[in-house]
Symmetry: C2
Subunit: 477 residues, 2 copies
Amino acid sequence: MYDMAIELHTDGSRRLYEQIYDYIKTEIRDGKLLAGERLPSTRSLAEYLQVARSTVEYAYGQLLSEGYIESRPYRGYFVCAMEGLLCMEEPADREEVDRPSADAYSISDGNAEGEKVECNYNFSPHEIDMSGFPFGVWRKITRNILTYGNSELFARGEAQGDYDLRETVSRYLHSSRGVNCEPEQIIVGAGNDYLLMLLEKILGRQVRIAMENPTYIRTYRIFHSFAYDIVTVDMDECGMRTDCLVRENASAAYVMPSHQFPMGIVMPIGRRMELLKWAAGREGRYLIEDDYDSEFRYCGKPIPALMASDKQGKVIYIGTFSKAIAPAIRVSFMVLPQALLERYRRECSFYSCTVSRIDQRILNEFIRDGYFERHLNKMRKIYRAKQELLLRCLEPFRDKFEVSGENTGLHLILTSREDVAEEELLGRAEREGVRVYGLSESIVEEFHRRATVLIGFGGMTQEQIAEGMKRLEKAWL
Amino acid sequence: MYDMAIELHTDGSRRLYEQIYDYIKTEIRDGKLLAGERLPSTRSLAEYLQVARSTVEYAYGQLLSEGYIESRPYRGYFVCAMEGLLCMEEPADREEVDRPSADAYSISDGNAEGEKVECNYNFSPHEIDMSGFPFGVWRKITRNILTYGNSELFARGEAQGDYDLRETVSRYLHSSRGVNCEPEQIIVGAGNDYLLMLLEKILGRQVRIAMENPTYIRTYRIFHSFAYDIVTVDMDECGMRTDCLVRENASAAYVMPSHQFPMGIVMPIGRRMELLKWAAGREGRYLIEDDYDSEFRYCGKPIPALMASDKQGKVIYIGTFSKAIAPAIRVSFMVLPQALLERYRRECSFYSCTVSRIDQRILNEFIRDGYFERHLNKMRKIYRAKQELLLRCLEPFRDKFEVSGENTGLHLILTSREDVAEEELLGRAEREGVRVYGLSESIVEEFHRRATVLIGFGGMTQEQIAEGMKRLEKAWL
């Protein structure tokens, strides 16, 4: 067993867990702790250092989440292989590192190859923390699946997705989103974009669709490419204004009730009821509920999906595992109300499923065996810690900016109290090496408003957040 | 080492390799050879039995391809685990087995759940042999990829697919299909159906598309769901008749020049040139080349793709790994000519890639490291042997039926010389427990013709083929 002779400063200048975390990280980086080496158990290290066991656990958790160490069941904690570390390094004090977190996710990536971002501190609202990804579990499940005994997995599967996975998803939706649906109503597909393409085939071409303004611009572009007749509807602090919606002759409305992007609004039950009433008002009207990141809520009880309140088959629910697990997994799902399900079966069921059956099976076991739940708990903790840090860093900004969107999700919203242009704020940040995102990127039709920026924290390490915010302070205050 | 006391009959009544193959298979099935047990090396068994080493290799190859044994590098051959065997068992002499090969692939699967097929001998033209799938290699590649060092793989990738994979595909297209294209022209997608959906967004809605009659009915359904204006064009022995095509005011034509489905026609160079000339005759005209199973050609040299002859950017090429590797892999690709590539970039590049980056990486290594080539060689041999057997079994049918389509692909075509209805033939076969496929399933507009059936052999074992054909003889002759 490796002896951790950590000199802890107990004068309160730095937190104990941070000192343990820093010490071990430095030891690993400097090659003093080698890949594969076992760390002392949390209990023995806590005894040795005379600190609470939870302090060591917290430090280990941080190292785990950042990919420095891994946990092996019944065996303990081990140092990860170096290649793993290289790409996890935060570039806090290095000028040469130009892309701390890949920007492929950016909403502004209009071109296929993606633009290089020169900024070292990219507060993208679309990035997630991949360091917490449970590679070990994923690898184990995969290994067990890829055997001769499962060769039927390599044949073409059901068009809607494997029944087992749909059953697991329906259980998950019931327990965590309050949605009661049958596996028969679920269609598994390779990402939301694909499911929207399929939905176009189901809803048909003559759709007049209402969207909030601002909204998730990727979806706007997709509807635009369908040549849908898009009407924008104003928002208030509860989300889409139904008094405006009723004036439009729309046949569908696209909403994100659990966490509106970009405004971060959680739609209250009253507004939800109004929307459902609007949809029920005419045959063929539907609400498209995009529940893209409902998993990450930091305060209060989880709020059920809009579909959970739908008694009349008016909600089309779209969920994804891209945010909660990893974008590369490419598994999303859509829950159709009965009437649309019949239309899908009649007119679209010959489209083959776009998700590999192997991936479907891996995901199914990942959820079914409780790994997903554990992963979510872990990520929620990680994101909460990042958000708390970001909120602390934002304290000095509160004179000049209003901060909102802190209940849920992976970004916060800053609205300027002064008369300053959005581009001016972005430009000043950029000159300090910080990239934040203007609300204008999410705006379909510009309107009179204060300069507003989104600050995402999902893909940033705590160090990056701290240093990036220091620079932003210099840029803006 | 297990001693194989095989009594070989050398009177010529049965081939030596077959006797060895049968003996070992029976030993495994009867549990005398257990999972994980090592077989003697081919050399030592050949010496022991006093036969040529190639005879043993052939027997082992057959056992390998049917999943009874597996080969481990540097270690030899081992008996596979029993679960693996259960699903590989051919039901030759068992009444209770009702689905020797899943029918999810059938072109007639109009409903999402797929219909149960009661026939024990399903000569589906759409099934492939999965027993040859290199699980070991796939598992090894997967294991190496799923590490912390590759965590960037779990982030969202390029919309067109990972550049490395596109580079590998472009090299493969060059060497095996004669196509010269840049990785920039390639779009990777989750299956042909998806790529066609994307193509709809690129080509737009006002497309009048020419299709052969008969054609691949799945694609017909997809174009139909796009509300494309579909015109059917008659075929002759060279494929789509250009003299008929020029009379239609079509803006695109969908063809399968390497192996027309279902007729099995390989389009000669003269007709190809005529098609290219037609396309060049007006701006905005395109040929959609579906090269779905060009890998399996049994005689003569491989014939380059139509795109290889295209000098004017008129061909949209669609290829897939579903046939050559496994349907579940869900990786297809589309090569766009320059003009359409620009339109794609302008209007559609915000659609995220539908294939998981992990799967892309696995496939890339599989092709790049030569496993794909080896796999194809192996499968070509397996399919050739099955086709030869089927052709032998078809000898007694030649008085009553014309046999065609033997140059390439995974099915043969029987055209009746007599005045009998197609349904009559199918019905008589079905009563003997044999399912063959009527040409009518591929017909868009019925025309005067002889009864024609497709007999696929890809998904059948040799035993199934032999027994199924015996029954078909009873049904039809």
